[in-house]
Amino acid sequence: MAEQAVRIREDILKGADSPDLLGWLDKPYKAEIELRGKITRSLVEEISRIKKEPDWMRRLRLRSLELFYKLPMPKWIVGIEEIDLDVLSHYVKPEAQTTDEWQDLPEQMRRYYEKLGLPELEAKFLAGLVAVYDSETVYARMKEYLRRKGVIVLPLEEAVQKYPDLVKKYFLRVFPPSDHKFAALHGALWSGGTFIYVPPGVKVREPIESFFLIGRQGEGQFEHSLIVADEGSYVHWIEGCSAPRFVGYSFHNGMVEAYAHRNATVKITTIQNWSRNVINFNNKRGIAEEGARVDWVEGSIGSRMTYVYPSTILKGDNSSTRSVVVTLSKGPYLKDSGSKVIHVGANTKSKIVNKSISAEGGVNVYRGIVRIVRGAKNANAHVECDSLILDGKSKAHTFPHNQVDEPTASVSHEAKTGRLSEQQLFYLTSRGLTDDEAKSLIVLGFLDEIMTELPIEYANVLHRVIQLEFSELGAVG
């Protein structure tokens, strides 16, 4: 069973780039509405109008827009000058209504998802699935047993209409748009995404997945996911990202907000394999109340440039987080990542593990933050940063930042950089392995300890994707 899940996942991750799927995507799927051009008040108003939003949401968008205008462009972002926001399509509504039956989707679109294997994956392994195509959710469904327990899995837009008070309580409050320019832009333009609410005490055993697809070039995707776990509940949410290869670039600026109430656990797993012309910007933050836990696993393989910093605020006493980020930059690509944790409550614990692999001119940057505020008694943070550099052209940089204002806290940091030497490579090839096979063994070995902690299907998928990346067939981009 696990084996099958692996196969399907692998097809999904690699398949979005396959030529027979690209066949019809040369002509992007028909859009009912496409808004492009300068980011103006009227553009934002138009998105809100199309979505028939309540006034509070419209005002929230406009407030975010004001912040976007005011906030400075972050200086440390490399390559941002390549994004011309004024020419992107900021909102693309595909010609399809949201449905909970695959057969109701337009045939072309349904066939695409079927080729990717999503319906099969959903039926066998998931408690719920939300599929976002361009800017809108086209499919959302959860298994019946969850409905009976009061779990909510909906497109965020629908949740705004049906559960406004619940959404209002968290939306853009975990990650305020005032944080930085791109968070503000996201607040103004957000569209598509997932709302998950798990009532007190309910443990959702199977994961719930959201799958994001960018279906055209020159598109900005601003999906928003909001995961709320009420007291003592448990939920594992998986994010899958894919985009076929186009000539022009696309821009992804999504946001994930997670809230774990007292003694709840939220786990978030992302396997990102965007094609090589997606500029991928992420805003991810969770808040953990007393005794709660927010865990992140991020496997970032694809994209041209990725900026991702899973962050957790350990607000309540005895709350904890564990953030594992694996980035691979093989080829002239950049991954700028780093987990961030703010310890507020007493006896809070965090563990950050960051592993990066740089090959063939790839660059990885770690930019993490651990902050322990005064009063976070006995807070404990541990950071591990391992970089593996496979050749002389590739680079890894580490910029850890710790700020500790609580004397009883302890923070430890370990950083290691391993560089593959000619001698090591000779040694392995002298046993009959090609350079690439040798590198794939070294990379898999480097990730070994992380693999053992991932759910088996995901560990196997990551394993295979990496083997493929280092085989002649798997060359992406």
């Binding site: 000779f426 392995l428 392995l433």
Partner: protein
């Protein structure tokens, strides 16, 4: 049955010429000892046979069973049956010793997934030879050469030779750093391998191993050239008189 043939081999690394016309054969079912002082070119000869990057062949040939290896990359030479036990093998963090052997065997058998054990008898074989070499089984699960003692490294190199079953085995100083029991052990294994018909090229600085295993041919390399080639008596001469004497006697000024 020619085995490994090295013919008039001239090699340079960047601008430095390191081998000046080496000719020798390593036949199946025999042990050919290569002796010489430090820096004489013994290891360079081995690396060149393996096709290591930056060892540039200017002239001459290296053949296995009559077929030239010069155009083949290292891994293909390995797949044709040549194995080299390194004098000081590098650490390979993250990769377990067993993983490497399993991958090497899968590669040889043409299995696409290199990390999966298809035939459990491989594991049995690894255990058996580890035991034979007085290595604890744990070593198979350890990262290659990470934290290995000098002796463990040597024995791990030999273990791989036994498990991978090559046709030609090049051992670069397999005895250095071993105690006398270790040297005897290695010598016995070499005898067995010879009896199985392997072609063995034994690179060594000292003749102490020859008390326990007699080489069929001994070639002394000094300054990248062959000083003398002969039977076991050449090793005795080295042992008695030293390399300075050999240099004076066999190289004209």
């Amino acid at each position: 049955m020619p085995g490994l043939e090295v013919e008039n081999l001239h090699v340079r690394i960047e601008n430095k010429k390191i081998l000046h016309g080496i000719t020798l054969n390593v036949e199946y079912g025999s042990i050919h000892a290569i002796m010489g002082p430090n820096g004489s070119g013994k290891s360079s000869l081995a690396y060149t046979i393996m096709g290591r990057e930056s060892y540039e062949v200017e002239e001459g040939d290296i053949r296995l069973d009559g077929e030239s290896l010069l155009d083949l990359p290292t891994e293909e030479r390995a797949l044709k049956g040549i194995y080299m036990a390194l004098q000081d093998p590098p650490q390979v963090p993250g990769v377990r010793l067993s993983t490497l052997m399993i991958a090497a065997i899968n590669k040889k058998l043409g299995n696409l997934d290199l990390t999966r054990v298809k035939d459990p008898s491989i594991v049995k074989k690894m255990y058996k030879y580890a035991e034979e070499l007085n290595l604890s089984r744990d070593i198979l699960q350890r990262e290659i050469n990470v934290g290995f003692s000098g002796g463990e490294k040597k024995r791990s190199e030999l273990l791989q030779a036994l498990v991978l079953e090559p046709k030609v085995i090049i051992l670069d100083e397999p005895d250095s750093g071993l105690d006398i029991d270790g040297v005897k052990k290695v010598a016995n294994i070499l005898k067995e391998l010879k009896a199985e018909g392997k072609a063995i090229m034994l690179i060594t600085h000292y003749a102490r191993m020859f008390k326990y295993v007699t080489p069929d041919i001994v070639t002394v390399i000094i300054d990248g050239k062959i000083a003398v080639q002969g039977g076991p008596e050449v090793a005795n001469l080295v042992e008695e008189k030293g390399y300075a004497y050999i240099r004076q006697r066999f190289f004209k000024r």
